[in-house]
Symmetry: C2
Subunit: 455 residues, 2 copies
Amino acid sequence: MSDQPNQSQEPPKPESTEQHAPAERAASMDSLDAHSELYAERTSGMTASEIRALFAVASRPEVVSLAGGMPNLAALPLDSLSQEVARLIAEQGQSALQYGSAHGVPELREQICEVMALEGISAHPDDVMVTVGSQMALDLVTRIFCDPGDVVLAEGPSYVGAMGAFATYQADVVHVAMDEHGLRPDALRQAIDETHRRGKQIKLLYTIPNFHNPAGVTLAAERRPEILEICSRHGILVLEDNPYGLLGFDGQTHPSLRAQDPENVIYLGSFSKTFASGMRVGWVLAPHAVREKLVLAAESATLCPPTLNQMIVSRYLSTHDWMGQIKTFQEQYRQRRDAMLEALEQYMPPGCHWTHPEGGFFVWFTAPEGVDTKAMLPRAVTNRVAYASGTGFYRDGLGSRQMRLSFCYPTPERIREGVRRLANTLNEELELLSTFGSNGQREISGPQAPSPDTA
Amino acid sequence: MSDQPNQSQEPPKPESTEQHAPAERAASMDSLDAHSELYAERTSGMTASEIRALFAVASRPEVVSLAGGMPNLAALPLDSLSQEVARLIAEQGQSALQYGSAHGVPELREQICEVMALEGISAHPDDVMVTVGSQMALDLVTRIFCDPGDVVLAEGPSYVGAMGAFATYQADVVHVAMDEHGLRPDALRQAIDETHRRGKQIKLLYTIPNFHNPAGVTLAAERRPEILEICSRHGILVLEDNPYGLLGFDGQTHPSLRAQDPENVIYLGSFSKTFASGMRVGWVLAPHAVREKLVLAAESATLCPPTLNQMIVSRYLSTHDWMGQIKTFQEQYRQRRDAMLEALEQYMPPGCHWTHPEGGFFVWFTAPEGVDTKAMLPRAVTNRVAYASGTGFYRDGLGSRQMRLSFCYPTPERIREGVRRLANTLNEELELLSTFGSNGQREISGPQAPSPDTA
């Protein structure tokens, strides 16, 4: 998954300089909307994410974008892949270009079980459903479980796309604090108790245990059984989102939550980071009865995932050294992570903190007291660097001192230059603050404060 | 669109012989579902369609399936297509395999405007959004407009997949009668009045004006402005679903509703019938402000449609004689339609009626009084022919004497043989009825009766 659609195919639009005023734009558009009386209630919760508003500017070539979540595909073997796809269409085109089942191509579902076995999961292909990226799995799981007002627990900060799905079905997100070892069991217990005291039903715990987006931390092994036990005891399903699990920089994988509790965990996987995001092939592994409901929901959503894409991924897995390719990706991302951490160490002013990810795509960065990263963003873009400001990763307004820095897409050289520009921007901001004082952003402290910024 | 996923990749499952008792299966599964207390309210409305329950049996090679809606892809130029796709991946793989925007690839959106121009539509590419088949467009339009209890008007009978989408968002469907000239304006007025008298809000009129699925009729040109005027006057958006519009057998296209009322019509199109269904590339054209909302909804649903598939379709349109290919499809489907109509004329007993489609995939068939097509289906399958029984195309229990017969996929020879077997089945059924009397199905008459069976 990613919250970072590639808009490089589209030229920046004229109005892109106005993007720091999305509320004004939305208001002016609504007044032009002849159908504004007809929308469903849920539609009022559909707003452009803060991150999305950045794309047009951040995709200008002179800007170093540390905002995006696009995987780096430069290492893909395009020539051999193109030959395999050509063979597939010539030999099996009548199947590959035809409708399939909503459940997914059987051969691919078997291969997905082999992929998941790398993380300790034992699963039957019948319990796997293929989806149009794991974003679709997020949508469908929320669809079948969440009535308006139901609560989903999620790490604070959490993945923007998941929060969009929860908002679509009018579920409320309650954030649970993390530290450098991931989700805190004590904070989970507290969130459950407080939510139940408010009389709300909790349906799901949404968690990204490995190489968290955006926090860059990994859930400690010893916390995993405890978290599973807490959720099981309270009748809360665990929704484990694991797009980065195979992208650990030391080559180690963490045993998935699903492996430890097959009956109470719904597991989401994706080929977007280990193969190619533009295929939009992800999957969900669920307890059998839940999987049945998911297939019915998927039929109504898209009839079936694209047959061609499923057969391409299946063929890629059977004809290419896909595990070797993942090792190549690991090594590339490790180099980029190193470049970012070194540059942060070298350039950043005192008072900054950041996480040290052992895999995945993201560093979570905390600026010194008084800095509002959202307010600072236009200045950063003027300095030709972009990031994702922290408030976009919370549903409750936290994160104003934070930002997500992505090291997945730019080269190590560009990353270093981007961090240097960002440090300059921060220094300018701090100078302004010391001259004119804080510009009114909230102070955040106590147990509700964003917590992975512990490094 | 189609309600006919191809399950030929999956062997019939052991339980497939039990499929005439879906309610029992669902009940037994629910009792095994540890999470049955957690589902959202909407999930109770998600049930396997009657048609879907058929797939396993109908896909056995000895059965002539007149049930499916799979396009016939035999005429596709697989060799040249495979070469173009290979070139695309080799030359533009870094874009084709990467995330894109939820809005869709700009070049394809421009080409889609050229395709729609064939039906008299003048549109800006910015108002087009690419979707994962037009089923996804149905899902998203319903998502942004329908609160639970809102009413969607739809022809009776109507497309199964659309009714699934409406049910997902807990919208109520009110059917509007058709005749051989399509949706009846007088019935539309009556349905609006009756629904408003019940105090319900009508959000959409869902209509398939050309070569209707399943009714096989086309909305008369002179009715189109009248229907648009009625909807506009009552503040009801028109959702025009037009997957078959270019598949008219005389090569003529009908001017779309969208062309006549750009401000109050949302138009759905698809490459599933004119190119390849397994690509899952469809689109929605909507008034600008509605399109903005649709993009936000699409981001939450799948982030973006597969970039690869969009670029393949775009390349196909620019490198192949796609209009010549559509002519080939038209000719093939015309031959199949002729085979079906001739066989129906030759074999069917007195008292049967059927529509005479001038395009598309489907004939709507009405059996003699007393026949219950759903109850008869197991006998038909024993006689090695399958069809889609009529009740599946209504939300209100009508259609028990009807069935949908598809001529899209089997060869003309197989169609003739299938119709012969179906006629034998009907004759057996009529003999049983004359011996033992009606087995209790409802009699249907008056203005609410299914009406396209007028031929």
